[in-house]
């Protein structure tokens, strides 16, 4: 098929579920993920408030999900048989909003209202305000248990809809994550895929330093989850892993996506300072230039 990126009108077109993962498709989605980072940068810089680092680390994951894998319909955000995405790392919502807007859930020109008075784009996700947002998030740790509840509901309904949750690695510190893991495994929820955006950095330091979580794959495995490990900025690997997860029977699936906090801007990468740091004007310009350069690389 022709890459939608060849046509600017189709710049945000969807590669429907089941589409073969061509190199052109992977390149196009990678380019878009880079472009979405520039929106996040502008939103946070404009409001002088928000979380860049964790938003940048999940750009490819969200892009792959919303523009290919998730069966959702922006015209019917409440469609009962839609796939669900629980965005558990709520502080990174600038990226979620950017992706939802480009997917057509609300106008892209609403993004600059982020965190402002009367905005639908709250500081942390609020399902009743923002089309496409499934649950509230911000306080960390809720994603697995909520997603397990959604997966149980889908099974009770005899529905083929699938449930996804995106977690940060820092939020694995929270006890309710592990409660949710046990629940999902107990009920063998193979309609549930959790993706850990494992960027290795949380607010005050590296996860290794703050609260060691390794060996993380062994931990999920010991909790009776099927574990897939990937490079979380490699769109091809993300797409393939999501497909493989759909084929697992009898166990919930976790995709450990190794990512880089602040990905795409060299001085932001792997730094706790950019968990909630706000760029000054020089940093903004430098970051924008780097992101644009990265995006151009995918266009060539």
């Amino acid at each position: 098929m022709t890459s939608p990126s060849a046509n600017p009108v189709l710049a945000n077109a969807v590669y429907p579920y089941g589409t073969r993962h061509t190199d052109a498709m992977v390149a196009d989605l990678s380019r878009r993920a880079g472009e979405y980072r520039t929106h996040v940068l502008r939103m946070v810089y404009g409001r002088k408030s928000g979380h860049i680092g964790g938003a940048f680390s999940c750009a490819e994951i969200l892009t792959a999900l919303y523009f290919h894998h998730l069966r959702v319909d922006p015209a019917r955000p409440d469609w009962s048989d839609r796939d669900r995405l629980v965005f558990s790392k709520g502080h990174a919502c600038a990226m979620l909003y950017t992706v939802l807007a480009h997917r057509g859930f609300f106008p892209v020109d609403e993004l600059p209202t982020f965190r402002g008075l009367d905005s639908r784009l709250q500081g942390h996700p609020e399902p009743q305000k923002t089309p496409g947002v499934e649950v509230a998030a911000g306080p960390l740790g809720h994603g697995v248990a909520i997603a397990a509840g959604m997966a149980l509901a889908a099974r009770m309904d005899g529905s083929k809809r699938r449930i996804y949750a995106i977690l940060g690695d820092g939020e694995l510190n929270s006890g309710v994550i592990w409660e949710g893991m046990m629940t999902a495994a107990k009920f063998a929820l193979d309609n549930l895929t959790v993706i850990v955006d494992y960027n290795g950095v949380q607010q005050t330091g590296t996860t290794r330093h703050v609260m060691p979580t390794e060996p993380i794959a062994d931990k999920w495995s010991a909790f009776n989850w099927h574990v897939i490990e990937i490079h979380g900025h490699n769109v091809g690997q993300i797409l393939d892993a999501l497909d493989r997860a759909d084929e697992v029977h009898g166990r919930p699936v976790v995709i450990i996506a190794r990512t880089t906090k602040g990905k795409g801007v060299s001085f932001m990468e792997n730094s706790p300072a950019w968990h909630g740091g706000i760029p000054d004007s020089a940093q903004f310009e430098a970051a924008l230039a780097e992101l644009n350069e990265g995006t151009r690389a995918w266009t060539v």
């Binding site: 009962s80 669900r84 629980v86 609020e126 399902p127 009743q128 499934e134 649950v135 509230a136 911000g138 306080p139 740790g141 809720h142 248990a145 909520i146 997603a147 397990a148 509840g149 959604m150 997966a151 149980l152 509901a153 889908a154 009770m156 309904d157 449930i163 006890g175 309710v176 409660e179 949710g180 046990m182 629940t183 107990k186 009920f187």
Partner: protein, 332 residues
Amino acid sequence: MDGLIRNPLGSPSSMRKAYGEALVELGRARQDVVVLSADVQSSDFSYMFEAVYPERFINVGIAEPALVDVAVGLASSGKVPIANTFAFLFATRALEMVRTHLCFGGANVKLAGAYGGLSDSFDGPTHQTISDFAIFRSLPNMTIVVPADPLAVRKLLPQVAAWKGPVYFRLCRNEVPEVFTDAYEPKIGEGVTLIDGDDATVIACGVMVARAIEAARSLSRQDIRLRVVEMHTIKPIDSDFIVRCAQETGALVTVEEHSIIGGLGGAVAECLAQQYPAPLERIGVNDTFAESGPYLDLLDKYGMSVEAIVAAAQRAMARKQASSSHATSEVY
């Protein structure tokens, strides 16, 4: 309205058995009802639902935060989940889940708080719940409903399930006097006058309604006419009703199986302070933890005896008298 309550009150009957039966009935009437427990279904009696509808029953283990979060996921998928565990665990351990996803996020989850008040009497203060009204009342969008007897459980549970938005339904562990006749038709959000009177109003909730009725019947032998009001909905509080009682009787007593801080007494005090100041006495646990012991003895020892209600009514009436004679002396 005397027709709403039994005279004398009926013999004690199990509230949790009534709850279990009402859950089964609800499950029969509504396919969207899903029941969850944090491995205390043999205590909260949701095991009765599990026995009939095992495919709609979920035991998450001893994990109250997950109990609420799993219910959130079910609710966001169109189910009406009824989560069950001990009342104090909802109000403390799982509170952040309740605040973030039910009250803020709008998840349509119902919380059935078992073993409310001092009713888990022998297990002691770690298991007793005297702060739940205060905690949940401060959360926007929360509704708090407290049935007073087994019949009230059966009448109110379907309304709780049909209510739009989160509800905290507070239950008693023990056998409690049957208070109501079949004529009782409660409606969430509306106070109910059980006994009319104009000397003072006693506003009670939960199992304390029976004791308020006994206090009124005892005072009636001295020709004192207490109005007895059941306030089964602590939030949203029926403030128009409370103000009318204040205007018509001039003195009030609240009676609840809860701390005197922040619960029914707090709600009535806030309402009166702003709309119609009147003497108010609050009966409840006096800002202390209780202890282990027989239930009825605990209620007596910690300030919720019939005699304590009678004495509070007399104090409230005396204050009304004093303030009216004071007002009179000012005029002359």
